[in-house]
Amino acid sequence: MSISVHNLSKTYGNQKAVDSISFSVNKGEILGFLGPNGAGKSTTMKMLTCYLPPSAGTASVCGLDIIHQPIAVKQKIGYLPENNPLYYDMYVKEFLEFAWHINGMKTPNNSQQKIKNSIELVGLQVEQHKKIGQLSKGYKQRVGLAQALIHEPEVLILDEPTSGLDPNQLADIRQLIRNLAKEKTIIFSTHIMQEVQAVCDKVVIINKGKIVANDTADNLQNMLSNETLVEVEFENAIAVDALKEMPQIHAVEKISDTHFVLHGKQSKLLRKAIFEFAVQKNNPLLLLKEESKSLEEVFHQLTGKQ
C-alpha cells in the first residue's frame, strides 16, 4: 500500500475541514480526488505532504508515518501545491536545479541530466531559458510539474494540476499523468469530471470534509445510476401510448413524432425489448443509444444540497 490514510482529521478553529477520512492507494494507481470548493481536498494533501499536522488520525506514505518520519516521507513525494507557487525571479533551469538540491539530491554531475529529463517530460524545451515570471500560466504549471518530478519520487501529489490549461495542454498533461502512473502512485485533485473518467483508476469524492464515495470510476457510475435512459428513433411516427405498452418502460419523453427518450431500469433488457417492439410493429429502428448518467450527475447527486 503506497498511501494509506486512517481517520485523518483537520480542524481549523472550530471548523472541521477534514473529518475522519480513510482511504488507500496502491502502487501504480491513480486516485482522483473530487469535491466541491472547500471540501477539504487541499487540506488533506497538505497533511499528506507534512505541511500541516493532522488534528487526529494518521497516514502513511510508502510505509512511513507522516507524523513521526516527516523528512523521509517528504523524500518520497513530489508535490504540486494548489496555485503552483514558484519563484518568478528565477530562471527555469536555475529553479529546477534548486529543486533538485533541496530534495537532498547530492550528485551534481547527475543533476544536469535529470533537469534535462524533467524538462523534456513536461514539454518545456522551448521555454527553458526564460525566467519563470515570463512564462504563460500553462508553462508555469509545467514548471510546477517538472519540479515535482525532478527527484523521481515514488508518490506524486498534485493539487489541481490541470487548472488553467488550454485543451491541448490538458490532453498532454493527462497523458503525462497516465504515463507516470506506470511506476508511481498518484493522487490528484480536480473539478473536471471527464478528467477523472479519462485518467483515474479510483475516485474519492469528498464533501464538507467527509468521504461520500470511494470506488472505481466505472462502479460509481453504475451503482448510482438506478435509472437508464435510452434514446430511440423510428422510421415512422409512433404514439406514446404504443410505446408504453412495453412493461419495461416507466416513462417516455417525446422529442418528435419519431424520436423519444425512454426511461427504464436494467439497460440490457430494456434495449432488447425496444428492438423486439420495433420488429413486431414493422417500424425500422434508426437509433438506439444508451445515455448513462455521467459522473458529473453522480457528483451532483452526492455533493448537492441535502
Binding site: C50, I71, K74, P85, D89, F98, I102
Partner: protein, 242 residues
C-alpha cells in the same frame, strides 16, 4: 541548507539588494567621517569614534531592509509551502537564510577597514590610533550586525507583509540596542536594577567590547541573543502547525 543558502546569496547578488546596501553603508559613513562638519580631518584626534557611534544607527535601518523579504515574501507568494514540503527541517531553512544574510552583512562590513587604514596613515607619530580599542570596536560592530540579522529574520517570519516586517525589525533592533539602556537610566531604577536592565540591551556589551577588552561574557551574550531570535524565527514558521 546549502541549497537555500545558495539561492538566497544568488538573490542578493543578482538583484541590486547587495550592491545598494553595501553602497549605502559605505557612503553614508564616509561622508560623516571625512566630509561633513565634525569629521576626523578637522579634529586633531586619530580616532574612529564617529564611525562606531553612527554605524549602529544606520544598521538599525539597513539590516531589517535586507532581511524584510526573506520570509514575508515566501509566505506572501506561497513558496513557503514549496520549501516546507521538501526533505529539510524548518531550522535548516532558517539557518540557510541567516547565513546568507550574514554573508551579505560581512561584505558590507569589510570595506569599512579602509577607514582604519586611512586614519592610521593620517595620524601623527606621537598620537597614533588606539589599535586595541579599534579592533575591539570592529568585533563589537560585527556582532551587532549579526544580532540585527537574526532580529530582522524573526520580524520577517512573523508576517507576510514586507513593510510590516521592516518596521517591526527596525523597532526590535532599536529596542534591543538603545531602549534598554534608556529605560535603565529612568530614575525609578537608579542604583538597583539599572545594571541588569542595561545588560539586557546590546549597547552595554557593544561599549564594553569597544574598550578593547574582548570579554567572553560579551561574546556569549551576543551569541545567545542570536540563538534566541533564530529559535524565535523557527517557532514563528512552525506556528502554521498550531
Amino acid at each position: 541548507m546549502n541549497a537555500i543558502l545558495k539561492k538566497e546569496i544568488n538573490l542578493f547578488f543578482s538583484s541590486l539588494i547587495a550592491y545598494v546596501s553595501m553602497a549605502v553603508f559605505f557612503i553614508t559613513l564616509s561622508l560623516n567621517l571625512f566630509i561633513f562638519q565634525g569629521n576626523i580631518l578637522d579634529s586633531n584626534y586619530a580616532t574612529l569614534d564617529t564611525f562606531f557611534t553612527l554605524a549602529p544607527w544606520i544598521l538599525i535601518f539597513l539590516i531589517p531592509a535586507i532581511t524584510m523579504r526573506s520570509f514575508a515574501d515566501e509566505k506572501q507568494n506561497g513558496t513557503i509551502e514549496f520549501l516546507a514540503t521538501k526533505p529539510i527541517t524548518d531550522l535548516q531553512i532558517v539557518m540557510g537564510k541567516y547565513i546568507a544574510a550574514l554573508i551579505l552583512w560581512t561584505f558590507t562590513f569589510l570595506p569599512t577597514f579602509i577607514y582604519f587604514i586611512c586614519v592610521q596613515k593620517l595620524s601623527l607619530e606621537d598620537a597614533p590610533i588606539d589599535s586595541g580599542a579599534t579592533y575591539g570596536s570592529y568585533i563589537g560592530l560585527y556582532f551587532l550586525g549579526a544580532v540585527f540579522v537574526s532580529i530582522g529574520l524573526f520580524a520577517s517570519a512573523i508576517t507576510n507583509n514586507q513593510i510590516v516586517a521592516f518596521l517591526v525589525g527596525v523597532f526590535l533592533c532599536y529596542l534591543m540596542y538603545d531602549a534598554f539602556y534608556r529605560i535603565s537610566s529612568l530614575p525609578i531604577f537608579q542604583g538597583q536594577l539599572d545594571y541588569y536592565i542595561q545588560a539586557i540591551g546590546l549597547n552595554a556589551h557593544y561599549d564594553s567590547i569597544s574598550r578593547g577588552v574582548v570579554d567572553t561574557r560579551d561574546i556569549v551574550y551576543f551569541l545567545s541573543v542570536i540563538a534566541l531570535f533564530i529559535i524565535g524565527t523557527r517557532t514563528a514558521l512552525e506556528s502554521r502547525k498550531w
